[in-house]
Symmetry: C2
DNA sequence: ATGTGTCTAAACCTAAAGGTTTAGATTGAG
DNA sequence: CTCAATCTAAACCTTTAGGTTTAGACACAT
């Protein structure tokens, strides 16, 4: 695909607070016929206004900037809802940073330590609409992603402070029905027990969860991932 | 790293309901010195018991199986909490399938249409603890991932059937307090209005949301992303 | 066999929630 | 100006919900 578009060069804006570094990247990119660095920005605010003005095809963004951090900068650029594609360029391979950048919609992620031809390759891939994430960073991302999701599901059981763990089986059943917005009478019918028994269970639940009413109990349950647990039991 | 472990071969279990296909993969893998297919499984249940029994290093899993679907199978294998690594092998490059498999903890994802040496390469990468996701599938994943997160936030406003959109500003405020488990009296104090006024609002909310009590209203609100909306208003 | 935990259930009470109707004040659109 | 929507509020009522105490039946462990 490189060089097929004779109409115009691919417009790139470089965002980096280090002027020397930005200049280096600029020269490197301008060596390529199909790319053109149309502007440099030393901070996020300047970057935003330049992007609004020029609507570049690609923004190469350094992540360790003063004042506004890189993640916020990406967020603000994405909110513009332009066709501009963001490639992150940073010294850090921090999984959390990679995860957040990609989540927000970055199309590529490159380490500064990587060879310069990789930068050009990243540009090539991204202009074609692909994602550019080197294998090393890809693995980092997924380590974080999978553990993140896993933790979301399992943090409940692992949490010593989770009062839901004090509930008996029957109480869990009752709570499960409460989280569906069912009345005492309804719960009694579903569990084939009397309404007063349900009340007893509910009162015990309230004491164990240290709440005062069913709404708070339901909210506590939802926040602690109780619903996920119930779903898993069913499946 | 290949061939450095003289102690034992890497144990692989192949899960595929198509016997011929499973056999083909088995032979292919057994050509490699460092790998050994120790078992085949034609369905998820057999697979689970074989995995429990042999605790293989790698499970190669076909996703289009009858009875139990591949995603559920992955979920059940992950629940065993073994060191077994799952590589998905399927004919489909459906982004949703890729996303769910990776989310659940799959370490690799290969299409059946891909060359056989890629399968071996995937095994090599995964035994080293890396993630194997070919560029095409990686892009598919991120397209889904980035839109997924975006959609989660915006699906509410876009939903024509979302009854929350019928609420007035004041009703939203009241509902917001209900979702914090606050009583009529508490809401009245927070909003500097009388308790009966709160009741009126709440009744209107119930009618608009077509529910009968506060618990159901709170659940409706949570399910439709009301809490996210409130958070966004703050930020 | 004795105690502990769980599930069951009743009686009794108060507080809160929910349903209905009516209505005044304000605002903004036609 | 008038209509509609919204926010406010009261009176009246019924139904749940929640709190407390007591207690029988069963299982399980020491």
């Amino acid at each position: 695909m490189r060089g097929l578009d004779f109409q115009r060069k691919t417009k790139v804006i470089v965002v980096d607070d280090n002027y020397d570094h930005a200049s280096g990247i600029r020269e490197l990119i301008n060596l390529e016929n199909e790319y053109e660095v149309i502007a440099n920005a030393g901070n996020a605010n300047v970057a935003i206004s330049l992007i609004k003005k020029y609507q570049p095809d690609i923004v190469l963004m350094d992540m360790n900037m003063p004042e506004v951090d890189g993640v916020s900068a990406i967020m603000r650029i994405m909110e513009l809802k332009l066709d501009t594609k963001i490639i992150v360029l940073t010294a850090y391979d921090d999984p959390d940073l990679i995860f957040r950048a990609m989540k927000l919609g970055a199309k590529g992620y490159i380490l500064k330590t990587m060879a310069s031809h990789q930068l050009i390759h990243a540009l090539d891939e991204v202009v074609q609409g692909k994602i550019y994430l080197p294998n090393v960073l890809c693995s980092r991302f997924f380590d974080y992603f999978q553990n993140f999701e896993k933790n979301q599901q399992n943090k409940m059981e692992e949490d010593e402070n989770n009062l839901l763990n004090d509930l008996t089986n029957r109480e869990e059943e009752v709570l499960s029905l409460l989280t569906q917005g069912i009345t005492y009478k309804g719960v009694a019918q579903k569990l084939f027990i009397s309404e007063t028994t349900v009340k007893t269970h509910v009162n015990n639940i309230f004491q164990k969860l240290q709440v005062n009413d069913r709404t708070q109990a339901v909210l506590y349950a939802i926040n602690k991932g109780f619903l996920n647990k119930q779903k898993m039991k069913i499946a």
